[in-house]
Symmetry: C3
Subunit: 330 residues, 3 copies
């Protein structure tokens, strides 16, 4: 079944195929390729772009989406096996997912980290539980560990600006925030860029390391794709000669590490030393003048709106691939 | 107008017709039988299966649903007549329902008991107020007294397993919980099984009696359909020779009656003495190892996912019957 | 671009065209005039009629709507420029709106006053910020200053009852409430009736004046359309000879002005002195026996449900006008 929960579900050649198809369909819309399909969207967390771009992909393709917000319009769901359910969770995924799979053709699920156990987060616990119970394809709308659709949209955006991504120097840099954010987006940008063969620079202050399981996966992938990864605490060194600046806030690995390090907030001045055609990328939502300066966001270097648009283009390819392997729901 | 607020709106022959049609359409989908129809879904309480299966029934039939969550995305609604509206309710059903009926072709409404007045609950106050104000057909998505769509899905599931339901021995048994749940599901299973002519056994600890209005309705129906009803406080005696175990938590009639009577939680051992082909049924959501043991839920005896699927099949028949009597909305 | 944020976006001749088309399409439905269109609906505040009537207008026209609830299912949005975003707002409209405009063909937005700064409210700050950022047409679903779709539905309702509106005597009268409500509805009724050339009487107790910017706009419009506006604190004098009584609660301009002036709550007795064919209008939701008496709401003089239905009829014209100037989204 064509689940997409992590980038490893596609692999380098799958990623390439998705990007090729997305670019083709961006140039020439495929029409009603999802005619009759119904996508069930399960949100454990809020959404604007993801909600809209997935529902739109179904509608533009001639299908439909049903949106469920867990804990708001629906029950709270348990994902752990073997627990006595006498707490605040009313239903187990072990029932909810098989039931939804009887109704809909495809599932898309968003379930962030709750910030309590980073090692657990990096097993992608909710999405992987859903994979076990599901009888229709499941696409992640952002998990605790990865946000593969964002990673794919990022790659499409870089391709549109720079063509072939092999060897392209790109910088993922930590950014300040008022609270410790999850790591799914930086994890996915890193893994995607490595999958595409980029020369990746990762810059963050001490105490903000990405998880070892992601770094290990990146190293293994790099050996396969010819990508490189260099980690540094020197943001300027990372940016030197880079074609992409991708600032992103995420939480510390060391308790008490300072979130408000304003010198890490990219401004126009940060473009000095980067390539003349350098672009700013960000997954959005972005807090202006906290994570990224307004002047940079409002400059011609910014591609953040293109990136958001590209969510639509890559997702409709994933939905298409998933649906056309499986059409026998109700 | 083809309202379905309680099982009495269908009667034994109506129930039979709905089940026949649902079984036919489960074998052979009816296509776009709801082309152009719009269903307004009004939720006073949360939902997962009901929300999804109703919206899906509209989409698969070529129609659409509009989902309104009262008190979340919409105003809180008053259902009592003759009150000065100076509290937290912003709008009266007397305006809201006629307005919605100008817009949509069909209404579906969920309004649980609020747990404060059981006698009032058993008049189905919100749904019956809506019946008075509505100018398009109204289908209950669970009221304070009945959950007719669940009862119909339960009957379809039993038919699929046992064929003719006349005289089939089935047991509705109380189950433990952490809070006093409403009685709409046990009421509807009881009334549906009696409508279908089953030999019904009802088991619960003292202090958990069903409401006299339901028991009186069941007795009157039984006289018509040849069903029988035996009530007992001995769960094992009820289960002996039974083809169905239907455990369900509900609240006490006597203040302080104990909710956590773990011996009432069905396990595999409870199947001893039942028929060899006995099945486990439950409306879901179910709290594992509190209401029903995991081993029983995960055993081949469980039909809980089939039951949930059958919600879709019976509901699209109800929607079809309602719509094709009334097509003159906007 | 065909934005409709205030009545000035249409002007007197635009209003006339919308009403003519709405009346035609009410008599004879236009079919799939919105085939392929997707409307993004952004709610900063709750809704029942607006939500349903807009989504229905899209569905009946062959299009679709995607519904986003800001702060519930989506992030909280910042509308002010130049602020450091270190508070509770996660995203700026400056990103969110351009992104949504890449996805959908049309936007509809609801953003009430928050009750803290009336002068700011009367600049329509959120909707006007969205106008600046949007690349697709934007329709107001009620702002801080105006609710143009309600005003248009009100005019259509008056036309259906009285034909030509030039010189028609109509009374907008303040009504009691438990809390200070926003002024968008009374502002829009006033501006719409003036646009249509009515003889408008505005009655309210001292301390409940409408904002000077609205009164100035009304005066300028009246000079153009031949309308008249007379303001009084004598409700009975205003109603004398009037064809329409439009009661509406709104908040005071003077701190401490009394909200619970029960003599201002219209009853059947208030019709004495009005025209024999006088009608009651209200935008809904209405609190019975607080803002308007039940006997009047339940009398044959009431047109409140017609008014709500007319929301649908005027909105599908606005959607049509907006869409057919702009069809190049994804």
């Amino acid at each position: 079944m064509n689940h997409v929960i992590g980038i490893h579900d596609l692999g380098p050649s799958g990623v390439r195929q998705v990007l090729d198809q997305a670019a083709d369909w961006k140039a020439q819309s495929p029409g009603e390729h999802l005619k009759g399909a119904v996508l069930g969207m399960v949100f454990f967390n809020p959404s604007l772009r993801t909600r809209t771009s997935f529902e739109l992909a179904m509608l533009r393709g001639g299908g439909h989406a049903i949106v469920l917000e867990v804990g708001a319009g629906t029950w709270k769901l348990e994902s752990r096996e073997g627990v006595i359910m006498d707490g605040d969770k009313t239903e187990h995924l072990k029932e909810a997912i098989p039931v939804l799979c009887r109704y809909v053709d495809l599932l898309a699920v968003r379930s962030f980290s709750d910030g309590t156990d980073e090692d657990l987060d990096h097993t992608e616990p909710v999405l992987e539980a859903i994979r076990r119970y599901a009888t229709v394809p499941v696409i992640s709308m952002e998990g605790a560990r990865e946000h593969p659709c964002q990673g794919l949209a990022d790659l499409l955006t870089m391709r549109e600006n720079f063509g072939d991504l092999k060897g392209l120097p790109v910088t993922l840099t930590w950014a300040p925030h008022i609270k410790p954010l999850p790591k799914a987006v930086p994890n996915s940008f890193l893994l995607s860029a490595i999958t595409a063969g980029c020369q990746v620079r990762l810059a963050h202050p001490p105490g903000f390391e990405l998880h070892e399981s992601v770094l290990a996966q990146a190293a293994a992938l790099a050996a396969e794709t010819g990508a490189t990864l260099k980690t540094t605490q020197d943001q300027a060194a990372a940016l030197a000669g880079s074609a992409v600046i991708y600032p992103k806030a995420w939480g510390p690995t060391v308790a008490g590490a300072e979130l408000s390090q304003a010198s890490w907030c990219p401004t126009i001045a940060h473009l000095n030393g980067m390539r003349a055609d350098a672009i700013l990328m960000h997954c959005l939502p972005v807090r202006r003048d906290l994570e990224v300066s307004s002047e940079l966001l409002d400059s011609p270097h910014s591609r953040v709106v293109d990136e958001a648009e590209n969510r639509f283009h890559v997702q409709r390819v994933l939905l298409d691939r998933a649906y056309h392997k499986k059409e026998n729901s109700l």
